[in-house]
Each structure stands twice: as structure tokens, then as C-alpha cells.
């Protein structure tokens, strides 16, 4: 009888997998649509049907990209931005997870902090940048703090929601089997909240990229945001577009990275 169940369970898995794979023709559509838009853009720009000063042809943007790569400018801008993004991201995510878990698990902490967090959330961290710069100075750290401030909120709220979503029966199970505080944290709350928490981290990742560009427009002399801003001010829009594409690329790259991480961290969810 066990065998029957085994076979049934396995064939279920076997049946569900292929559904997820999109057929190849749809995949080619995914690739074709941006190419088509770029092609259209190129043509319109070259034929001067749109103003090439505002919309330089994509080929010239690519050329500008390779020029910046050759001079080494890109590498230094990207490196410094990534440093700030990753630093700020971690500075926001780690306390977000810890405080989120505490809010989810302990009622007094929830009552003390949750309304406060909800009230602070709508304040754009960018509006606080002048104060952040006054306090921390014009340096990488103040940019990290700005990013951390934006990343923190979706992470803390999603983590708390993730913990609150855990079926109370698992808490009963842990209690009945003699769990200590540490066990509730690491064996129940953290893994149980993980799926919702990762959604929050995804959001935080997107917000980190939005924030870095703006943060590098004020009081910075390097970074992708700086590149975009100075080229914009100098009306060298090719360089600005290179910066925008880079941001878009990193956004996509980070979300793929997080999806991969999610598969490793939440192997139990299908």
C-alpha cells in the first residue's frame, strides 16, 4: 500500500513540472518584444522622426557604453554603487528581519513598534537625506544609511506578517515537544516566515536601486546615479541612458539572484 502512495506521489510531481515550462514560441516572444522596440527606436531616431538629442539611437548608446568601459569609468562607477547598494541593503535587511521576527512573536513588541513603523514608513528616506548627510557626513556610509532606511520597511513588515501567518498548530507542536525561545526563533518563526519575508526582500532590493540613483545625485562624485545626473546636466544623454540601462540590468540581475536564493532557502515550497 505504501508503494501505491509512493507511486501516486511521484507521478503527481512528474505531472506538475512540465506545466511550468513555457513553450519555446512564448520564450521567443519575450526576447522579440524588446528587440523590436529597440529597432523601432533606432529607425525613428536615425530618420529624425524623434529628436535624437533626447533619444539618441540605441547603437550610439551601446557605443558610448563601450567607450566608458574602455576608459575604465564604468567599472569605477559600478563598483562604488554596488558597494553602497550591497552595504545599504544588508544594513536594512538584517535589522528588518530581526525586528520583524520580534514583532511577529511578541505581543508587547508588536504593540510598541508596529504602529510606529507604519507611521514612519510613508516618509521618503530621500527627504531625510540632508539630515543624514549632516549627521554622517558626505560619504559612502550616509548613502548606505539612506538605502537601509528604505529597504528596512518592506522587510520588517513582510517578516512580521510572515510570522503572524504561521499556523498556530506549529507553535503548539514546538511547545509540546519542549521548544525553548531559541527554537521558536530558528525552527519555527524564521523558516515559517521565510516565503513572505523573501517577497519583502525582493521589494527592498528594487527600492535599494531606486534610492541609490537619487542618493548619488546629492553630494556624490561617483556612482551610477552620479553618472546619470552629471550627463543629464551636461546634456550628454547617451551617458545618461547607459546609466539607466545599467540600473535596469542590476535590478534584473538581483531579482534573479534572490529567486535563486529563495529556491535554496525555501526548498519545501512548490
Amino acid at each position: 500500500m505504501d508503494k501505491d502512495v509512493a507511486v501516486a506521489a511521484k507521478s503527481l510531481i512528474a505531472h506538475e513540472k512540465p506545466k511550468r515550462e513555457a513553450p519555446n514560441r512564448y520564450r521567443s516572444l519575450t526576447l522579440a518584444s524588446p528587440l523590436l522596440i529597440l529597432l523601432l527606436w533606432e529607425c525613428l531616431s536615425r530618420l529624425s522622426l524623434i529628436d535624437a538629442r533626447f533619444f539618441p539611437p540605441p547603437s550610439s548608446i551601446v557605443a558610448e557604453f563601450f567607450r566608458l568601459v574602455a576608459t575604465g569609468e564604468i567599472a569605477s562607477h559600478v563598483a562604488v554603487s554596488l558597494y553602497r547598494i550591497v552595504g545599504g541593503f544588508l544594513l536594512g535587511v538584517v535589522p528588518g528581519i530581526v525586528i520583524g521576527l520580534c514583532i511577529g512573536m511578541y505581543r508587547p513588541i508588536r504593540f510598541a513598534l508596529y504602529p510606529l513603523i507604519m507611521a514612519l514608513m510613508p516618509i521618503p528616506t530621500l527627504a531625510l537625506m540632508p539630515i543624514i548627510i549632516l549627521v554622517f557626513g558626505i560619504n559612502d556610509f550616509s548613502k548606505m544609511i539612506t538605502i537601509a532606511g528604505s529597504v528596512f520597511f518592506p522587510v520588517v513588515i513582510n517578516t512580521a506578517a510572515g510570522v503572524r501567518n504561521i499556523d498556530p498548530v506549529f507553535i503548539d507542536v514546538a511547545k509540546n515537544y519542549g521548544a525553548k525561545t531559541k527554537d521558536y526563533f530558528f525552527k519555527i518563526a524564521l523558516p515559517g516566515a521565510m516565503p513572505v519575508m523573501i517577497e519583502g526582500i525582493q521589494m527592498g532590493q528594487a527600492i535599494a536601486l531606486l534610492t541609490i540613483v537619487a542618493a548619488e545625485m546629492i553630494g556624490a562624485n561617483s556612482g551610477i546615479g552620479y553618472l546619470i545626473w552629471t550627463d543629464y546636466k551636461a546634456f550628454v544623454l547617451k551617458g545618461m541612458y547607459v546609466g539607466l540601462v545599467l540600473i535596469s540590468f542590476f535590478g534584473y540581475f538581483f531579482s534573479l539572484l534572490l529567486r535563486w536564493l529563495e529556491k535554496k532557502l525555501v526548498p519545501w515550497q512548490r
Partner: protein, 270 residues
Amino acid sequence: MNPDVKIRVEGLTKLFFKKKVGVCALDRVSFEVKNGEFVSLIGPSGCGKTTLLRILAGLEEASAGTYELVRDDPNKPLQSMIFQERGVIPWMTVEENVAFGLRLRHAPKAEIKERTEYYLNKVGLWEFRRHYPSEISGGMKQRVSIARAFANDPEILFMDEPFAAIDEQNKFILQEELLSIWEETHKTVLFITHSIDEALLLSDRILLMSRQPGRIVREKTIDLPRPRRITAVRANPEMAEAFVDIWNHLQNAVRGSALERRDEWALEPI
């Protein structure tokens, strides 16, 4: 006092509040369970039997009365509960679920490995030890729940309608499996069910509860020889009589509660 008593319950009462109205879930419940005895509690749904078990398992507080679980071996956990199938923790593999209690109480590695392997084999889940609960059937999950409790090696087992959500064929198989594991260990068991057949098959003694507020109104000793098979129990005329007897009791209890739903054991609002 009888030195052979393992569970002693005296005058246990539970009141709780629903929409500011006090409801009496348990009314001065008293009974004893002997060491190694398999006792079932049977009663109409909502009669407080689950509440009673949760109090004994340390998951809820009694309003009045006392209970005592007698400890014989200071090295073993006193009690473990077999939850319904949704008590299997989804972010742990089958193996991790079975080892859960042993890990929480920091049993020696070798013992964890040995006991986990033994019970995984016992319930026929060895091949599925690396699967997550979402990948196995409901019956298999309930096996995990049973293996987890037995692997923890407690002195007393509490079971809260463990087979309620399982289809009929699987239920028979699981009941006989449970019996065979239990006969190996002869742990003291308090088993909650609303299935008369199940109670007759498994128990040494059946306690019948009244409708809310739960009280123990009768008890019935089942002295069929062990090991028992479901077919033998079904074929036994005495058991058929016992079935009708308990059936009538439950009928009256349910009908009574339907007729006098408003008879208000519910207390005045406070």
C-alpha cells in the same frame, strides 16, 4: 492511592469567554489512567474533549481542578502529543520532523539517528525521509506525526483525533499500524476520537463524555484479547452490542444538545 496510576485528573474545569459570554467547556472532569493503558475519550463534537487533552498536554490552562502525570523515568520526556496531519511541520523533511522532539531535547546524535531510522522504517517512510510534507499524501503525513511522537519516547502519548481527516481505507491501515507500534512499547495512551469503531479497536477502556459542558458520564472496559485486528472486532457480537450502546449514548447527547441548545450553561455576561 493506586501506585499504578499514570494520569490522574480531578475536578478539572475549563471556562472560557466567547463574545463576553462565559462558556463552560469542561465540568469537573475526574478520571484515572493506569500505566500502560490505552484509554479513549469519546463524545459528541464540541464536548470539550480536545480542550481536556490540550490542558493535559500543557497547551492550555485549566480554570479549576488538578491533574497529575506521574513521572517514572526522569530521563524520558513525560508526554508527547500526536497532532492531526496538519501538525507536520512543512519546512522540515520527513526525517527532520520525526527527529524534532529528540533534537529539541538535545538527545545524543547516535540516539537521534537510531530512533529516527527505526521509526521511519516502522511506518514505511524510509524512502521518503528526504521528502517535504507537501510532497507526500495525507496518510503519510499522519505516519510522520505518529513516528515523531514515538521516536521522542515519552512516557505518555496524547492523540487528538489523529485519523479524523484520513480516508476510510487508509484509516484502517493506520489504526492497525498504530496498534502494532503501541503493542511494542505499551506506553500509556489517552486517545480522543469521535469514531466508535476506532475506540473499540484500540482501547482498553472507553470514557464517554456528555455534550457541553463536557463531563465523563460512563466508562466501558473493552477486554478483547490483543493483538486485535479490525476484522475480529467487527465480527465480535459483544463489540456489536457495545457499538450500539455507545451509539445510543452519542445520539442522545447530540439530540439533547440540539433541543436544548439555548439551555445556557453559558453564564451571564460579566
